[in-house]
Protein backbone atom coordinates (compact mmCIF):
# COMPACT_ATOMS: atom_id res chain seq x y z
CA UNK A 1 0.00 0.00 0.00
CA UNK A 2 1.58 3.26 -1.16
CA UNK A 3 0.72 6.34 0.93
CA UNK A 4 1.92 8.87 -1.61
CA UNK A 5 2.62 8.79 -5.35
CA UNK A 6 5.44 10.38 -7.32
CA UNK A 7 2.91 12.78 -8.87
CA UNK A 8 1.68 13.85 -5.43
CA UNK A 9 5.28 14.50 -4.34
CA UNK A 10 5.78 16.65 -7.44
CA UNK A 11 2.65 18.59 -6.47
CA UNK A 12 3.91 19.02 -2.88
CA UNK A 13 7.24 20.29 -4.22
CA UNK A 14 5.40 22.92 -6.28
CA UNK A 15 3.30 23.99 -3.29
CA UNK A 16 6.51 24.16 -1.22
CA UNK A 17 8.29 26.28 -3.85
CA UNK A 18 11.02 23.69 -4.32
CA UNK A 19 12.22 23.20 -7.89
CA UNK A 20 13.24 19.58 -7.26
CA UNK A 21 14.86 17.57 -10.03
CA UNK A 22 13.35 14.45 -11.61
CA UNK A 23 16.03 12.36 -9.91
CA UNK A 24 15.20 13.83 -6.49
CA UNK A 25 11.51 13.12 -7.08
CA UNK A 26 12.29 9.42 -7.43
CA UNK A 27 14.24 9.40 -4.14
CA UNK A 28 11.78 11.56 -2.21
CA UNK A 29 8.72 9.60 -3.35
CA UNK A 30 10.01 6.42 -1.70
CA UNK A 31 11.26 8.18 1.42
CA UNK A 32 8.13 10.26 2.00
CA UNK A 33 6.06 7.12 1.55
CA UNK A 34 7.96 5.36 4.36
CA UNK A 35 7.69 8.41 6.64
CA UNK A 36 3.98 8.99 6.01
CA UNK A 37 3.13 5.35 6.62
CA UNK A 38 4.98 5.52 9.95
CA UNK A 39 3.46 8.80 11.16
CA UNK A 40 -0.04 7.65 10.09
CA UNK A 41 0.07 5.56 13.31
CA UNK A 42 -1.47 8.58 15.06
CA UNK A 43 -4.71 7.46 13.41
CA UNK A 44 -4.80 4.39 15.69
CA UNK A 45 -5.59 6.61 18.69
CA UNK A 46 -9.27 7.07 19.51
CA UNK A 47 -9.38 10.84 19.94
CA UNK A 48 -12.63 12.03 18.40
CA UNK A 49 -13.69 13.99 21.50
CA UNK A 50 -10.19 15.11 22.55
CA UNK A 51 -9.40 18.82 22.14
CA UNK A 52 -6.27 19.61 20.11
CA UNK A 53 -3.16 21.15 21.71
CA UNK A 54 -1.37 23.70 19.56
CA UNK A 55 0.85 25.02 22.32
CA UNK A 56 2.03 23.92 25.74
CA UNK A 57 1.99 27.35 27.39
CA UNK A 58 -1.54 28.62 28.09
CA UNK A 59 -0.83 32.29 27.39
CA UNK A 60 -3.28 34.49 25.49
CA UNK A 61 -3.12 38.06 24.26
CA UNK A 62 0.34 38.95 25.53
CA UNK A 63 0.42 42.73 25.46
CA UNK A 64 2.98 45.37 26.33
CA UNK A 65 2.99 49.13 26.79
CA UNK A 66 3.13 51.03 23.50
CA UNK A 67 6.58 52.49 24.11
CA UNK A 68 9.12 53.31 21.42
CA UNK A 69 12.31 51.22 21.76
CA UNK A 70 15.40 51.27 19.55
CA UNK A 71 15.09 49.15 16.41
CA UNK A 72 17.17 48.42 13.34
CA UNK A 73 18.19 51.22 11.00
CA UNK A 74 17.16 50.80 7.35
CA UNK A 75 20.79 50.00 6.52
CA UNK A 76 20.88 47.25 9.18
CA UNK A 77 17.54 45.83 8.09
CA UNK A 78 18.69 45.67 4.48
CA UNK A 79 22.21 44.47 5.28
CA UNK A 80 21.45 40.81 4.51
CA UNK A 81 19.28 41.39 1.46
CA UNK A 82 20.37 39.80 -1.82
CA UNK A 83 19.33 43.01 -3.57
CA UNK A 84 18.19 46.41 -2.29
CA UNK A 85 17.38 49.78 -3.80
CA UNK A 86 16.21 53.10 -2.33
CA UNK A 87 15.94 51.61 1.18
CA UNK A 88 13.74 48.81 -0.10
CA UNK A 89 14.13 45.09 -0.76
CA UNK A 90 14.44 44.64 -4.52
CA UNK A 91 12.66 41.57 -5.88
CA UNK A 92 12.49 39.84 -9.26
CA UNK A 93 9.51 40.72 -11.46
CA UNK A 94 6.13 39.80 -10.03
CA UNK A 95 3.76 40.46 -12.96
CA UNK A 96 3.68 38.27 -16.06
CA UNK A 97 2.90 41.27 -18.30
CA UNK A 98 6.43 42.48 -17.75
CA UNK A 99 7.85 39.54 -19.70
CA UNK A 100 9.69 40.77 -22.76
CA UNK A 101 8.39 38.77 -25.72
Amino acid sequence: MVAISREEVAHLARLSRLAVSEEELDTFAGQLDVILQAVAQVGEVAAADIPPTSHSVPLTNVLREDVVTPGLTPEEALSGAPDAEEQRFRVPRILDEDVAS
Binding site: S16, I35, V39, V42, A47, V57, G80, I94
Partner: protein
Protein backbone atom coordinates in the same frame (compact mmCIF):
# COMPACT_ATOMS: atom_id res chain seq x y z
CA UNK B 1 48.28 25.95 30.80
CA UNK B 2 46.46 23.36 28.70
CA UNK B 3 44.91 21.90 31.86
CA UNK B 4 42.61 24.93 31.92
CA UNK B 5 40.57 23.21 29.24
CA UNK B 6 39.92 20.21 31.49
CA UNK B 7 38.31 22.28 34.25
CA UNK B 8 34.62 22.73 34.82
CA UNK B 9 33.02 26.13 34.25
CA UNK B 10 32.54 26.55 38.00
CA UNK B 11 36.24 25.83 38.58
CA UNK B 12 37.33 28.24 35.84
CA UNK B 13 35.08 31.00 37.20
CA UNK B 14 36.53 30.42 40.68
CA UNK B 15 40.12 30.71 39.45
CA UNK B 16 39.35 33.85 37.44
CA UNK B 17 37.52 35.42 40.39
CA UNK B 18 40.43 34.62 42.70
CA UNK B 19 42.87 36.20 40.26
CA UNK B 20 44.75 32.90 39.81
CA UNK B 21 44.20 33.10 36.09
CA UNK B 22 42.63 35.61 33.73
CA UNK B 23 39.74 35.40 31.28
CA UNK B 24 42.26 36.07 28.50
CA UNK B 25 44.45 33.12 29.57
CA UNK B 26 41.43 30.84 29.77
CA UNK B 27 40.20 31.98 26.37
CA UNK B 28 43.64 31.52 24.76
CA UNK B 29 43.85 27.98 26.17
CA UNK B 30 40.51 27.07 24.57
CA UNK B 31 41.33 28.75 21.26
CA UNK B 32 44.61 26.79 21.20
CA UNK B 33 42.75 23.57 21.90
CA UNK B 34 40.31 24.32 19.06
CA UNK B 35 43.24 24.99 16.73
CA UNK B 36 44.82 21.68 17.77
CA UNK B 37 41.87 19.31 17.51
CA UNK B 38 38.98 20.81 15.55
CA UNK B 39 40.25 19.64 12.18
CA UNK B 40 39.46 16.13 13.49
CA UNK B 41 36.22 16.98 15.34
CA UNK B 42 34.70 19.81 13.26
CA UNK B 43 32.60 21.05 16.16
CA UNK B 44 32.84 24.67 14.99
CA UNK B 45 31.50 26.35 11.87
CA UNK B 46 33.03 29.68 12.86
CA UNK B 47 35.64 30.52 15.50
CA UNK B 48 35.53 34.17 16.58
CA UNK B 49 39.03 34.49 18.05
CA UNK B 50 39.14 38.29 17.95
CA UNK B 51 35.69 38.69 19.45
CA UNK B 52 36.46 36.14 22.16
CA UNK B 53 39.73 37.78 23.17
CA UNK B 54 38.10 41.22 23.19
CA UNK B 55 35.30 39.93 25.42
CA UNK B 56 37.85 38.27 27.72
CA UNK B 57 39.92 41.47 27.98
CA UNK B 58 36.73 43.35 28.86
CA UNK B 59 35.95 40.90 31.68
CA UNK B 60 39.50 41.20 33.02
CA UNK B 61 39.34 45.01 32.85
CA UNK B 62 36.00 45.13 34.66
CA UNK B 63 37.32 42.86 37.38
CA UNK B 64 40.47 44.96 37.72
CA UNK B 65 38.20 48.01 38.13
CA UNK B 66 36.57 46.30 41.09
CA UNK B 67 33.30 45.47 39.37
CA UNK B 68 31.19 42.69 40.87
CA UNK B 69 30.86 39.97 38.21
CA UNK B 70 28.50 37.03 37.88
CA UNK B 71 29.23 33.36 38.67
CA UNK B 72 30.26 32.54 35.07
CA UNK B 73 32.35 35.63 34.31
CA UNK B 74 35.35 34.78 32.17
CA UNK B 75 34.13 31.32 31.19
CA UNK B 76 34.20 30.47 27.45
CA UNK B 77 31.05 29.25 25.77
CA UNK B 78 30.32 27.77 22.33
CA UNK B 79 27.00 28.73 20.73
CA UNK B 80 24.98 26.57 18.37
CA UNK B 81 24.72 28.24 14.98
CA UNK B 82 20.93 28.47 15.30
CA UNK B 83 21.15 31.65 17.44
CA UNK B 84 21.73 35.05 15.88
CA UNK B 85 24.97 36.80 16.77
CA UNK B 86 25.34 40.41 15.68
CA UNK B 87 27.99 40.70 12.98
CA UNK B 88 29.09 37.07 13.43
CA UNK B 89 28.08 34.55 10.74
CA UNK B 90 24.91 32.57 11.49
CA UNK B 91 24.16 29.78 9.02
CA UNK B 92 21.86 27.31 10.86
CA UNK B 93 24.01 24.67 9.12
CA UNK B 94 22.40 25.66 5.82
CA UNK B 95 23.69 26.96 2.49
CA UNK B 96 20.64 29.21 2.30
CA UNK B 97 22.15 31.44 5.02
CA UNK B 98 25.80 31.07 4.05
CA UNK B 99 27.66 34.28 4.82
CA UNK B 100 24.73 35.93 6.62
CA UNK B 101 25.81 38.26 9.43
CA UNK B 102 22.73 39.08 11.51
CA UNK B 103 22.10 42.73 12.43
CA UNK B 104 21.07 41.77 15.98
CA UNK B 105 21.87 39.43 18.88
CA UNK B 106 19.45 36.78 20.13
CA UNK B 107 18.31 37.20 23.73
CA UNK B 108 20.34 34.14 24.78
CA UNK B 109 23.52 35.65 23.33
CA UNK B 110 22.77 39.02 24.96
CA UNK B 111 22.42 37.28 28.31
CA UNK B 112 25.62 35.29 27.79
CA UNK B 113 27.41 38.58 27.19
CA UNK B 114 25.77 40.23 30.22
CA UNK B 115 26.91 37.27 32.35
CA UNK B 116 30.52 37.92 31.32
CA UNK B 117 30.93 34.66 29.43
CA UNK B 118 33.21 34.64 26.42
CA UNK B 119 31.75 33.38 23.14
CA UNK B 120 34.33 31.28 21.28
CA UNK B 121 32.31 30.75 18.13
CA UNK B 122 29.39 29.00 16.48
CA UNK B 123 28.93 25.24 16.49
CA UNK B 124 27.93 22.82 13.77
CA UNK B 125 24.42 21.39 13.57
CA UNK B 126 22.06 19.49 11.34
CA UNK B 127 20.60 21.95 8.85
CA UNK B 128 17.83 23.98 10.55
CA UNK B 129 18.21 21.66 13.59
CA UNK B 130 16.59 18.79 11.68
CA UNK B 131 18.49 15.60 12.39
CA UNK B 132 20.04 13.37 15.02
CA UNK B 133 23.63 13.01 13.81
CA UNK B 134 24.87 16.41 12.51
CA UNK B 135 25.36 14.64 9.18
CA UNK B 136 22.64 16.86 7.67
CA UNK B 137 24.84 19.94 8.13
CA UNK B 138 25.53 21.55 4.75
CA UNK B 139 29.11 22.08 5.94
CA UNK B 140 30.07 18.46 6.67
CA UNK B 141 29.53 16.32 9.75
CA UNK B 142 30.90 16.76 13.25
CA UNK B 143 32.69 13.72 14.65
CA UNK B 144 32.28 12.18 18.09
CA UNK B 145 35.41 12.73 20.22
CA UNK B 146 34.90 9.23 21.71
CA UNK B 147 35.32 7.67 18.25
CA UNK B 148 35.77 9.98 15.28
CA UNK B 149 34.17 7.44 12.94
CA UNK B 150 30.91 7.87 14.82
CA UNK B 151 28.24 10.57 15.01
CA UNK B 152 28.11 13.07 17.90
CA UNK B 153 24.32 13.11 17.90
CA UNK B 154 22.18 15.91 16.58
CA UNK B 155 21.03 18.33 15.82
CA UNK B 156 23.41 19.94 18.33
CA UNK B 157 26.34 17.62 17.66
CA UNK B 158 28.76 20.53 17.40
CA UNK B 159 27.98 21.88 20.86
CA UNK B 160 28.17 18.42 22.48
CA UNK B 161 31.38 17.48 20.66
CA UNK B 162 33.01 20.81 21.61
CA UNK B 163 32.45 19.89 25.27
CA UNK B 164 33.65 16.29 24.94
CA UNK B 165 36.75 17.45 23.02
CA UNK B 166 37.54 20.03 25.74
CA UNK B 167 37.23 22.84 23.21
CA UNK B 168 34.72 24.62 25.48
CA UNK B 169 33.48 24.06 29.05
CA UNK B 170 29.97 25.34 28.23
CA UNK B 171 27.79 25.36 25.15
CA UNK B 172 24.32 26.41 24.06
CA UNK B 173 21.99 24.09 22.22
CA UNK B 174 18.37 24.07 21.12
CA UNK B 175 15.95 21.19 21.65
CA UNK B 176 12.86 20.65 19.49
CA UNK B 177 12.62 16.84 19.74
CA UNK B 178 15.84 15.94 21.57
CA UNK B 179 18.56 18.02 19.91
CA UNK B 180 20.23 18.94 23.21
CA UNK B 181 19.66 15.70 25.13
CA UNK B 182 20.55 13.07 22.53
CA UNK B 183 23.91 14.68 21.60
CA UNK B 184 24.59 14.94 25.33
CA UNK B 185 23.87 11.24 25.77
CA UNK B 186 26.09 9.98 22.94
CA UNK B 187 29.04 12.24 23.82
CA UNK B 188 29.01 11.57 27.58
CA UNK B 189 28.07 15.16 28.41
CA UNK B 190 25.14 16.88 30.13
CA UNK B 191 22.37 18.51 28.12
CA UNK B 192 19.23 20.13 29.49
CA UNK B 193 16.04 21.15 27.73
CA UNK B 194 14.36 23.76 29.94
CA UNK B 195 10.60 24.09 30.28
CA UNK B 196 9.22 25.44 27.00
CA UNK B 197 8.94 29.20 27.48
CA UNK B 198 11.59 29.18 30.23
CA UNK B 199 14.29 30.30 27.78
CA UNK B 200 13.77 32.93 25.10
CA UNK B 201 13.32 32.08 21.43
CA UNK B 202 14.05 35.68 20.34
CA UNK B 203 16.80 35.34 17.73
CA UNK B 204 16.55 31.55 17.60
CA UNK B 205 16.07 30.67 13.93
CA UNK B 206 12.66 29.00 13.99
CA UNK B 207 12.14 25.33 13.13
CA UNK B 208 9.00 24.34 15.08
CA UNK B 209 7.89 27.30 17.15
CA UNK B 210 5.63 25.45 19.60
CA UNK B 211 8.50 23.08 20.50
CA UNK B 212 11.85 24.94 20.00
CA UNK B 213 13.64 25.45 23.33
CA UNK B 214 17.19 26.79 23.72
CA UNK B 215 19.13 25.37 26.66
CA UNK B 216 22.45 24.64 28.35
CA UNK B 217 25.09 22.00 27.55
CA UNK B 218 28.04 21.26 29.86
CA UNK B 219 30.28 18.51 31.23
CA UNK B 220 28.79 18.66 34.74
CA UNK B 221 25.26 19.06 36.05
CA UNK B 222 26.23 22.08 38.17
CA UNK B 223 27.74 23.83 35.13
CA UNK B 224 24.55 23.19 33.14
CA UNK B 225 22.51 24.67 36.01
CA UNK B 226 24.74 27.76 36.21
CA UNK B 227 24.35 28.30 32.47
CA UNK B 228 20.59 27.67 32.66
CA UNK B 229 20.30 30.34 35.36
CA UNK B 230 22.32 32.81 33.26
CA UNK B 231 20.24 32.45 30.08
CA UNK B 232 16.77 31.69 31.46
CA UNK B 233 13.84 33.81 32.49
CA UNK B 234 11.15 35.99 31.00
CA UNK B 235 11.79 37.90 27.79
CA UNK B 236 9.16 40.43 26.66
CA UNK B 237 10.37 39.98 23.08
CA UNK B 238 9.19 36.35 23.02
CA UNK B 239 5.39 36.20 23.30
CA UNK B 240 5.53 32.57 24.52
CA UNK B 241 8.05 33.33 27.26
CA UNK B 242 6.73 32.42 30.71
CA UNK B 243 6.47 35.50 32.97
CA UNK B 244 7.85 33.76 36.09
CA UNK B 245 11.28 33.45 37.70
CA UNK B 246 13.62 30.60 36.70
CA UNK B 247 13.31 27.76 39.22
CA UNK B 248 16.39 27.65 41.49
CA UNK B 249 18.27 25.11 39.39
CA UNK B 250 21.68 25.91 40.89
CA UNK B 251 20.54 25.24 44.44
CA UNK B 252 18.87 22.05 43.23
CA UNK B 253 22.08 20.84 41.55
CA UNK B 254 24.02 21.52 44.76
CA UNK B 255 21.42 19.72 46.82
CA UNK B 256 21.56 16.74 44.44
CA UNK B 257 25.34 16.68 44.72
CA UNK B 258 24.98 15.65 48.37
CA UNK B 259 23.92 12.29 46.92
CA UNK B 260 20.76 12.08 48.99
CA UNK B 261 17.48 11.35 47.19
CA UNK B 262 15.54 10.21 50.24
CA UNK B 263 11.83 10.79 49.72
CA UNK B 264 12.12 11.30 45.94
CA UNK B 265 9.79 9.16 43.84
CA UNK B 266 11.01 8.39 40.32
CA UNK B 267 8.80 6.83 37.66
CA UNK B 268 9.99 4.39 35.02
CA UNK B 269 7.64 4.42 32.01
CA UNK B 270 6.60 0.81 31.47
CA UNK B 271 5.79 1.30 27.76
CA UNK B 272 9.39 2.30 27.02
CA UNK B 273 10.53 -1.25 27.83
CA UNK B 274 9.00 -2.52 24.56
CA UNK B 275 10.71 0.02 22.35
CA UNK B 276 13.80 -1.70 20.97
CA UNK B 277 16.45 -0.27 23.27
CA UNK B 278 19.98 -1.59 22.61
CA UNK B 279 20.93 -4.18 25.29
CA UNK B 280 23.99 -2.19 26.39
CA UNK B 281 21.93 0.97 26.81
CA UNK B 282 19.31 -0.93 28.80
CA UNK B 283 22.00 -2.48 31.02
CA UNK B 284 23.55 0.91 31.82
CA UNK B 285 20.09 2.35 32.50
CA UNK B 286 19.16 -0.52 34.84
CA UNK B 287 22.44 -0.13 36.75
CA UNK B 288 21.63 3.55 37.18
CA UNK B 289 18.17 2.73 38.48
CA UNK B 290 19.89 0.58 41.13
CA UNK B 291 22.27 3.45 41.91
CA UNK B 292 19.35 5.87 42.30
CA UNK B 293 17.67 3.41 44.66
CA UNK B 294 20.86 3.26 46.76
CA UNK B 295 20.80 7.07 46.93
CA UNK B 296 17.39 6.82 48.57
CA UNK B 297 15.00 7.28 45.64
CA UNK B 298 11.88 5.18 45.40
CA UNK B 299 11.35 3.69 41.94
CA UNK B 300 7.77 3.33 40.71
CA UNK B 301 6.60 1.86 37.42
CA UNK B 302 4.13 4.16 35.68
CA UNK B 303 2.07 3.73 32.55
CA UNK B 304 2.00 6.44 29.89
CA UNK B 305 -0.04 4.66 27.20
CA UNK B 306 0.18 7.41 24.58
CA UNK B 307 3.95 7.84 24.67
CA UNK B 308 4.28 5.30 21.85
CA UNK B 309 2.47 7.78 19.61
CA UNK B 310 4.77 10.68 20.53
CA UNK B 311 7.26 10.04 17.75
CA UNK B 312 4.65 9.91 14.94
CA UNK B 313 2.84 12.95 16.41
CA UNK B 314 6.14 14.81 16.70
CA UNK B 315 7.07 13.98 13.10
CA UNK B 316 3.79 15.52 11.95
CA UNK B 317 3.70 18.61 14.18
CA UNK B 318 7.34 19.63 13.76
CA UNK B 319 7.36 19.32 9.92
CA UNK B 320 4.02 21.16 9.73
CA UNK B 321 5.37 24.10 11.70
CA UNK B 322 8.65 23.95 9.75
CA UNK B 323 6.89 24.10 6.38
CA UNK B 324 5.28 27.34 7.52
CA UNK B 325 8.34 28.81 9.29
CA UNK B 326 10.76 28.14 6.44
CA UNK B 327 8.55 30.02 3.99
CA UNK B 328 10.52 33.08 5.10
CA UNK B 329 13.52 31.80 3.15
CA UNK B 330 12.32 33.28 -0.11
CA UNK B 331 15.48 34.97 -1.35
CA UNK B 332 14.14 38.46 -0.63
CA UNK B 333 15.19 39.73 2.81
CA UNK B 334 18.28 37.67 3.65
CA UNK B 335 20.33 34.75 2.49
CA UNK B 336 20.77 33.12 -0.86
CA UNK B 337 19.13 34.18 -4.11
CA UNK B 338 19.88 32.21 -7.28
CA UNK B 339 18.44 32.19 -10.79
CA UNK B 340 17.53 35.89 -10.86
CA UNK B 341 18.39 36.28 -14.54
CA UNK B 342 15.76 38.89 -15.40
CA UNK B 343 13.58 36.29 -17.10
CA UNK B 344 12.42 34.23 -14.12
CA UNK B 345 9.46 35.44 -12.09
CA UNK B 346 9.67 36.02 -8.34
CA UNK B 347 8.01 32.68 -7.74
CA UNK B 348 10.43 30.86 -10.04
CA UNK B 349 13.42 32.53 -8.40
CA UNK B 350 12.06 31.47 -5.00
CA UNK B 351 11.69 27.87 -6.12
CA UNK B 352 15.15 27.71 -7.67
CA UNK B 353 16.69 29.45 -4.62
CA UNK B 354 15.05 27.09 -2.14
CA UNK B 355 16.00 24.07 -4.24
CA UNK B 356 19.65 25.19 -4.24
CA UNK B 357 19.74 26.38 -0.63
CA UNK B 358 18.02 23.58 1.29
CA UNK B 359 19.41 20.08 1.80
CA UNK B 360 17.43 16.84 1.39
CA UNK B 361 16.21 16.46 5.00
CA UNK B 362 14.88 20.03 5.11
CA UNK B 363 13.09 19.48 1.80
CA UNK B 364 11.57 16.22 3.07
CA UNK B 365 10.23 17.91 6.17
CA UNK B 366 8.84 20.91 4.30
CA UNK B 367 6.99 18.53 1.96
CA UNK B 368 5.72 16.29 4.79
CA UNK B 369 4.46 19.38 6.61
CA UNK B 370 2.83 20.75 3.47
CA UNK B 371 1.11 17.39 3.03
CA UNK B 372 -0.05 17.17 6.66
CA UNK B 373 -1.51 20.69 6.52
CA UNK B 374 -3.20 20.38 3.13
CA UNK B 375 -6.98 20.26 2.92
CA UNK B 376 -8.22 16.69 2.83
CA UNK B 377 -5.29 15.45 4.95
CA UNK B 378 -5.31 18.06 7.73
CA UNK B 379 -7.75 16.26 10.05
CA UNK B 380 -6.14 12.84 9.68
CA UNK B 381 -2.57 14.07 10.10
CA UNK B 382 -1.92 17.46 11.72
CA UNK B 383 -5.27 17.68 13.53
CA UNK B 384 -4.98 14.13 14.85
CA UNK B 385 -1.38 14.75 15.96
CA UNK B 386 -2.54 17.76 17.99
CA UNK B 387 -5.10 15.59 19.75
CA UNK B 388 -2.44 12.99 20.51
CA UNK B 389 -0.39 15.85 21.95
CA UNK B 390 -3.23 16.50 24.39
CA UNK B 391 -3.29 12.83 25.41
CA UNK B 392 0.49 12.77 25.93
CA UNK B 393 0.19 15.85 28.13
CA UNK B 394 -2.51 14.07 30.15
CA UNK B 395 -0.21 11.04 30.52
CA UNK B 396 2.49 13.30 31.97
CA UNK B 397 0.04 15.07 34.28
CA UNK B 398 -1.27 11.76 35.60
CA UNK B 399 2.25 10.38 36.07
CA UNK B 400 3.37 13.45 38.01
CA UNK B 401 0.51 12.93 40.46
CA UNK B 402 2.27 9.71 41.46
CA UNK B 403 5.97 10.55 41.04
CA UNK B 404 8.26 13.58 41.28
CA UNK B 405 10.06 12.90 38.01
CA UNK B 406 10.26 10.30 35.24
CA UNK B 407 13.45 8.57 34.12
CA UNK B 408 14.35 6.72 30.91
CA UNK B 409 17.30 6.08 28.66
CA UNK B 410 17.85 9.35 26.75
CA UNK B 411 18.03 7.62 23.39
CA UNK B 412 17.67 3.95 22.36
CA UNK B 413 21.16 3.55 20.92
CA UNK B 414 24.75 4.69 21.44
CA UNK B 415 26.64 6.78 18.86
CA UNK B 416 26.33 4.97 15.53
CA UNK B 417 28.88 5.00 12.70
CA UNK B 418 28.75 7.93 10.28
CA UNK B 419 26.49 7.07 7.35
CA UNK B 420 24.63 4.26 9.13
CA UNK B 421 21.20 5.92 9.11
CA UNK B 422 21.27 8.54 6.36
CA UNK B 423 19.79 6.34 3.61
CA UNK B 424 16.63 5.60 5.61
CA UNK B 425 15.38 8.88 7.13
CA UNK B 426 12.92 7.20 9.50
CA UNK B 427 15.74 5.20 11.14
CA UNK B 428 17.29 8.54 12.04
CA UNK B 429 13.99 9.72 13.57
CA UNK B 430 14.04 6.81 16.05
CA UNK B 431 16.80 8.61 17.99
CA UNK B 432 14.04 10.91 19.33
CA UNK B 433 11.88 8.07 20.67
CA UNK B 434 12.31 8.93 24.37
CA UNK B 435 12.96 12.67 24.08
CA UNK B 436 10.04 13.81 21.90
CA UNK B 437 7.25 13.22 24.50
CA UNK B 438 8.74 15.96 26.70
CA UNK B 439 8.75 18.47 23.85
CA UNK B 440 5.09 17.81 23.05
CA UNK B 441 4.22 18.26 26.74
CA UNK B 442 6.44 21.31 27.22
CA UNK B 443 8.17 20.17 30.40
CA UNK B 444 11.91 20.06 31.11
CA UNK B 445 14.24 17.13 30.48
CA UNK B 446 17.94 16.54 31.10
CA UNK B 447 20.39 13.92 29.89
CA UNK B 448 23.18 12.94 32.27
CA UNK B 449 25.94 10.35 31.63
CA UNK B 450 25.01 7.02 33.24
CA UNK B 451 27.66 4.59 32.01
CA UNK B 452 29.29 3.03 28.97
CA UNK B 453 28.17 0.43 26.46
CA UNK B 454 30.94 -1.05 24.33
CA UNK B 455 33.17 1.85 25.36
CA UNK B 456 30.62 4.47 24.25
CA UNK B 457 28.63 6.79 26.52
CA UNK B 458 25.02 6.17 27.56
CA UNK B 459 22.73 8.90 28.87
CA UNK B 460 19.89 8.78 31.38
CA UNK B 461 17.04 11.22 30.94
CA UNK B 462 15.19 12.86 33.82
CA UNK B 463 11.82 14.44 32.91
CA UNK B 464 10.06 16.81 35.32
CA UNK B 465 6.78 18.75 35.43
CA UNK B 466 6.49 22.10 33.68
CA UNK B 467 8.43 24.80 35.58
CA UNK B 468 9.92 22.20 37.95
CA UNK B 469 13.28 22.26 36.17
CA UNK B 470 14.99 22.26 39.57
CA UNK B 471 13.78 18.70 40.24
CA UNK B 472 15.55 17.24 37.25
CA UNK B 473 18.79 18.97 38.21
CA UNK B 474 18.61 17.50 41.70
CA UNK B 475 18.14 13.95 40.41
CA UNK B 476 20.77 14.35 37.68
CA UNK B 477 23.34 15.77 40.11
CA UNK B 478 22.72 12.92 42.53
CA UNK B 479 23.24 10.33 39.79
CA UNK B 480 26.41 12.15 38.78
CA UNK B 481 27.86 11.54 42.26
CA UNK B 482 27.31 7.81 41.77
CA UNK B 483 28.41 7.49 38.13
CA UNK B 484 31.00 10.27 37.92
CA UNK B 485 31.80 12.22 34.77
CA UNK B 486 32.91 10.20 31.74
CA UNK B 487 36.32 10.94 30.24
CA UNK B 488 36.80 10.26 26.53
CA UNK B 489 40.05 8.80 25.17
CA UNK B 490 42.73 11.32 24.12
CA UNK B 491 42.06 12.67 20.63
Amino acid sequence: MTELTKLSAAEIAGLVAAGETSAVEVTRAHLDRIAAVDDRVHAFLHVDSDGALAAARDVDARRAAGEELGPLAGVPVAVKDVLTTKGVPTTVGSKILEGWRPPYDSTIVQRLRAAGTVMLGKTNMDEFAMGSSTEYSAYGPTRNPWDTDRIPGGSGGGSAAALAAYEAPLAIGSDTGGSIRQPGAVTGTVGAKPTYGGTSRYGLVAFSSSLDTPGPCARTVLDAALLHEAIGGHDPRDSTSIPAPVPDVVAAAKRGATGDLTGVRLGVVSEFADEGVEPGVLAAFNESVDALTKLGAEIVEVSCPHFRYALPAYYLIAPSECSSNLARFDGVRFGLRVGDDGNRSLEEVMSVTREAGFGPEVKRRIMIGTYALSSGYYDAYYGQAQKVRTLITRDFTAAFERVDALISPTTPFVAFPLGARTSDPYQMYLADLFTSPTNLYGGPGISVPCGLSGGLPVGLQVMAPTMADDRMYRVAAALETAVGTLTPPEL
